[in-house]
């Protein structure tokens, strides 16, 4: 609670607090950001696992997946930052890049195994 003269202000609400429908309204840009962070953590953990437990196809697959997500979503930010792709296509960019990344990843995976 914040005191302001005679009035007691409530401290600011934050994103999602008392906000029952927020999750359904979370748009793709926000997910793209969130998933890049999550994939970054996944890369750290899986890289460690990959090095300690070598040649486990499951770990390799998950690592490749995490790297794909992290790289494509990073590419998204670079493309937007330098205005190589206009911000009005930002929604299509997420799907397009991640899709492309997954296709490339699939090709790499099946050419190895």
């Amino acid at each position: 609670m914040i005191k302001n003269g005679s009035l007691n202000y409530r401290k600011p609400l934050s994103w999602g607090e008392y906000d029952p429908h927020r999750r359904g309204n979370t748009r793709i840009g926000m997910w793209a950001w969130l998933w890049q962070r999550i994939s970054a953590l996944a890369v750290i953990v899986l890289l460690g696992l990959h090095v300690t437990l070598t040649y486990r196809p499951l770990i390799q697959f998950l690592l490749l997946l995490a790297v794909t997500f992290h790289a494509t979503l990073g590419l998204r930010v670079i493309l937007l930052d330098f205005n190589i792709v206009g911000v009005k296509y930002h929604r299509a960019l997420v799907g397009g890049l991640v899709g492309l990344g997954l296709v490339v990843m699939g090709l790499v995976w099946f050419s190895i195994y």
Binding site: Y9, K11, L13, Y18, W33, V77
Partner: protein
């Protein structure tokens, strides 16, 4: 549409009473709405206030999307109450209305916009002509800058974008999309005289943007805060190339301390000027955590890659069998199991040893063919070792007698220790 668009709606409104304090709560109201396509959330609030609860507080003025005072969060999305129709919320679903994020709540849906306008002011939101002139400036509608600025000047300062942006919560000094958009419209304007000063003030804030596009999604005027922020970043890139001496000019301003402890003191003083202790400590904490993680991962990767090349794996004596269990005059196949360490991982190895014992002579062969490594087996009838893969054959002493193998069978060094046969691996 009118026949399907009416009905009873549950409306949940966030209530906070400054007299009572506390966290606040939702109050539920039931409203019969004739035509949802022509009923705005503002109409709903007005009806609740008139018909059911006169203590309900909210802000509005123009009712036609012009003043920006009725920004609030409607079903998890920021918007203007006077612009959002009840029909925008799926049929039959409850309507929840709550105040904007990131602003202190005064009462119910009314927030204190003071922080918003403070940040707005810090970005120098006014126009200052480059040169004094009494003539109206001529800006061609087709000119590049006019096109770039576009409708970004339409901001009505409703605060929706600031409320939607999670970075406004995590970075206290962040100016937020609205202020940065305002700065952008002036930075892009070639007539404006405050370019440098404004850029100095807003640039740091631009790097708090994480490209979430939340502000762009909610702006009732369809302004993209993200676009404005990226524009300023690119502007700064061009500008820094053109004018590097501004950074150096600041250095003599720092006092030259005479000893190290003073230096530490003045550094801490400088830090304190810009941020409070808690943010400083938390930033240092995050930095340290990041460094530790990087070192940890780097160490693991380094040890795994460099380790095996550096250290020769030590020789290992593995017990194979007791000597008395090995028949004389025959070749016996014995399985051995052992572990090797390679870098960070240990590997279980299972191998076969072919022990040939004649009289008091013992030879321990490796059961892998010297051609391509297939498994070699003893053929007692023919008195030779055979490899099934390419027809290689070796005699009792391991010498090649047929097929492609280039050299005799490999042997294990071995020793006998009180009736135990041990072979050396690794």
């Amino acid at each position: 549409m009118a026949q399907t668009s009416g009905g009873v709606r549950n409306i949940k409104v966030f209530r906070y009473d400054p007299q009572q304090g506390g966290e606040g709560h939702f109050d539920s109201y039931v409203l019969n709405i004739q035509d949802e396509t022509t009923t705005t959330i503002l109409d709903v609030l007005l009806r609740i206030q008139r018909e059911q609860d006169p203590t309900l507080s909210f802000r509005f003025a123009c009712r036609v999307n012009m003043c920006g005072s009725c920004g609030m969060v409607i079903n998890g999305k920021e918007g203007l109450a006077c612009k959002t129709n009840v029909s925008h919320i799926p049929q039959g679903k409850e309507v929840t209305i709550r105040p904007l994020n990131h602003f202190p709540v005064i009462k119910d849906l009314v927030v204190d916009m003071e922080p918003f306008f403070k940040k707005y002011e810090e970005a120098l939101p006014f126009y200052e002509p480059r040169e004094e002139t009494t003539e109206p400036a001529v800006i061609r509608p087709g000119s590049r800058e006019r096109q770039d600025i576009g409708m970004a000047t339409d901001c009505i300062a409703c605060g929706c974008c600031v409320s939607s942006c999670t970075m406004c919560h995590y970075h206290e000094g962040y100016a937020g999309p609205a202020a940065l958009n305002r700065a952008f419209t002036l930075l892009a304007d070639s007539r404006d005289g405050l370019f440098e000063e404004r850029l100095d003030r807003v640039l740091a804030s631009c790097y708090n943007c994480r490209t979430e596009f939340n502000c762009t999604e909610v702006c009732p005027k369809r302004i993209s805060g993200t676009r404005a922020i990226k524009y300023i970043q690119r502007l700064a890139l061009k500008h820094i190339k053109a004018k590097p001496e501004t950074i150096e000019a600041e250095q003599p301003a720092v006092a030259q301390p005479s000893c190290a402890s003073e230096m530490a003191g003045s550094m801490a003083g400088n830090m304190a000027g810009n941020m409070d202790r808690r943010t400083f400590i938390s930033q240092v904490g995050v930095g340290l955590l990041g460094t530790c993680l990087a070192l940890g991962v780097g160490g693991v990767v380094g040890a795994a890659f460099v380790g095996p090349t550096r250290a020769r794996t030590p020789r290992l004596w593995v017990p194979a069998a007791s000597l008395s269990s090995i028949p004389v005059g025959d070749v016996t196949t014995i399985k051995i199991n052992y572990e090797t360490k390679n870098g960070l991982y240990t590997q279980q190895v299972a191998e076969r040893v072919l022990v040939s014992r004649t009289g008091d002579e013992i030879i321990c062969f490796k059961a892998s063919c010297t051609h391509l490594g297939c498994m070699v087996k003893w053929d007692g009838n023919a008195g030779r070792f055979r490899c099934a893969c390419h027809g290689g054959a070796f005699d009792r002493n391991g010498k090649v007698i047929a097929g492609p193998p280039p050299k005799p069978l490999d042997r294990y060094p071995f020793r006998v220790d009180s009736d135990h046969l041990l072979v050396e691996v690794g």
